[in-house]
Symmetry: C2
Subunit: 111 residues, 2 copies
């Protein structure tokens, strides 16, 4: 059972930021992490992921640098910026608010 893109839409950035709070990381690793963590229920498509990176970097929420791999494919590492942390916190707060709001709007409660 996988969830639709529309339900996830808007969370991609936050998911990435959250992952970068732990440590600097790169695209492939983040994608792997997500699909493992959700048992394959949610998989970011590569195009989505890399376009998110571009957007986040343009907005100053992450910065990037090439790793110095001596073996294997090169990796572009990303790290979260101070501003990225601020936005992350805000996104979490927005999400909590939205969650409540949506629940109120889609549940059958009153008549």
């Amino acid at each position: 059972m996988s969830i639709t893109s529309d339900l996830l839409r808007g969370h991609t950035d936050t998911i990435i930021l959250r992952h970068l709070l732990n440590r600097d990381s790169y695209g492939y690793e983040i994608n792997k992490y997500i699909s493992e963590k959700t048992d394959g229920a949610y998989e970011l498509k590569e195009a989505t992921l890399y376009s998110a990176f571009r957007r986040l970097e343009e907005n100053g929420l992450i910065s990037s640098y090439w790793g110095d791999e001596t073996t294997g494919a090169r990796r572009r590492y990303y790290s979260i910026t101070r501003q990225g942390r601020v936005v992350y916190e805000k996104n979490i707060a927005d999400w909590d608010e939205a969650k409540t709001l949506i629940d109120e709007l889609i549940r059958e409660v009153d008549v």
Copy 2:
């Protein structure tokens, strides 16, 4: 404090279906209801609302008829179909699942 479109995206249909579970209704009323219920935090734009109606009707989830108003502007009423109820239930289930998943993906829990 209002929430962004992206967080709401994909819920518009469910919100409308939910409202129609109570009773047949029309665009303006649904919009009013939503903005009141959320204290103005969330307001469906008209274009969004009416395009959702079109989409829902095309998919057979709602049906419509002109009201017989003897006064005031004419109203197009919508009612939820049997199939609409099924989809509503599914959307709710999907939402519950997505909510859990998103929470897991955006919260700082493990390292």
